[in-house]
């Protein structure tokens, strides 16, 4: 599974990468972007199966990236997991309305990440089966 990790802090990208590897995802298939703009360029040029993105980033924020993904015909079905320090109620609602697949509030742990990822893929499988 090809995953794109988007965060402006290199530390956080590395932490998320480590956690994903710990959960059994292949290190070599995980790529990184440091803001929404770069992420969008990468998403348009190669196929990914999952995006894990931060909210607060320069140039293009996570919520704008999410909206751009949903607005792009070739990307709109891509699962997006938001991992952010934003715990503002309105922002969580905005993310839900923009079509986020999961929302994790930092600081988080491997158990939470695993739980949210499992839920995302279960829902997608159910949606795929019923479609």
């Amino acid at each position: 599974m090809k995953i794109l990790v988007v965060d402006d802090f290199s530390t956080m990208r590395r932490i998320v990468r480590n956690l994903l590897v710990e959960l059994g995802f292949t290190n070599q298939l995980i790529q990184e972007a440091d803001d929404g703009n770069n992420a969008l360029t990468m998403l348009k040029s190669q196929p990914f199966d999952l995006v894990v993105t931060d909210w607060n980033m320069p140039n293009m924020t996570g919520i704008d990236l999410l909206r751009a993904i949903r607005a792009e015909a070739s990307l709109k079905g891509l699962p997006v997991l938001m991992v952010t320090a934003e715990n503002n109620r309105d922002q969580i609602i905005a993310a839900a309305q923009a079509g986020v697949n999961g929302y994790i509030v930092k600081p988080f742990n491997a158990v939470t990440l695993k739980e949210k990822l499992t839920k995302i893929f279960e829902r997608l499988a159910a949606a795929g089966a019923s479609a």
Partner: protein, 213 residues
């Protein structure tokens, strides 16, 4: 006139106004009213004048402080310090993750070796006991190293706050400079001298060696 003002308590008015209100001389009443309004306006203008003078004094002092103490430079310094903290903390966090990434495979190898030894050793063999201990130690290490990686998220959380402080300082700085610029309080002043800084021990040693140390 007295009919219109009948709702007022005339007794509460100053005697001269009361007299005027009840007088038949309309011109004298108008005159007295004008004088009263002028008097109030003068108070207001005097108060505004004092405020303007105070404001001008405060902004001049601010301009003076900014120029003499090199506050714009110091604000830039503070911002740089904060960005340095951001950079140093990121490096420290990466070093911790480097360590965890280097040690995790070692722990995995130890766990595997322990399993191999356990598979071939007799259950009561002291070697089996040691292998069991090594295996559980390797497992605990692996878990601890994962926790250590996760704990480095402090850098991201504290870093985001530092970025907010840097942005805030920037906005305060530009507002202050704009205020001073508007009043011209900084014009014609010399910028503060730049203090040269060295980047580390190597540069300090090089500099000292020029002086024969």
């Amino acid at each position: 006139m007295s009919a219109v003002l009948s709702t007022f308590d005339e007794a509460a008015l100053p005697p001269e106004l009361k007299d005027l209100l009840n007088s038949e001389d309309g011109a004298a009443f108008e005159h007295a009213l004008d004088a009263l309004v002028r008097q109030r306006e003068q108070h207001l203008f005097r108060a505004l004048g004092l405020l303007a003078r105070d404001l001008h004094g405060a902004v001049s002092r601010l301009g003076n402080d900014l120029a003499q103490e090199g506050v714009p430079g110091r604000v830039a310094d503070v911002r740089k310090h904060l960005n340095d903290v951001l950079e140093m903390s990121a490096q420290a966090a990466h070093r911790s993750i480097d360590f965890a990434e280097r040690m995790s495979p070692e722990a995995d190898k130890l766990a595997q070796s322990a399993e191999q030894v356990l598979a071939s050793a007799a259950p009561c063999d002291p070697v089996a006991d040691l292998a069991r201990q090594a295996g559980s130690f390797a497992g605990a290490c692996r878990e601890g190293l994962n926790d250590m990686v996760m704990a480095q998220s402090w850098q991201d959380l504290s870093g985001q706050r530092i970025k907010k402080v840097v942005n805030f300082i920037e906005s305060v700085e530009s507002s202050l400079l704009e205020l001073v610029r508007l009043t011209g309080a900084l014009s014609g002043r010399e910028p503060p001298p730049v203090v040269e800084k060295i980047s580390g021990q190597d540069e300090a040693d090089r500099l000292l060696s020029e002086f024969g140390f």
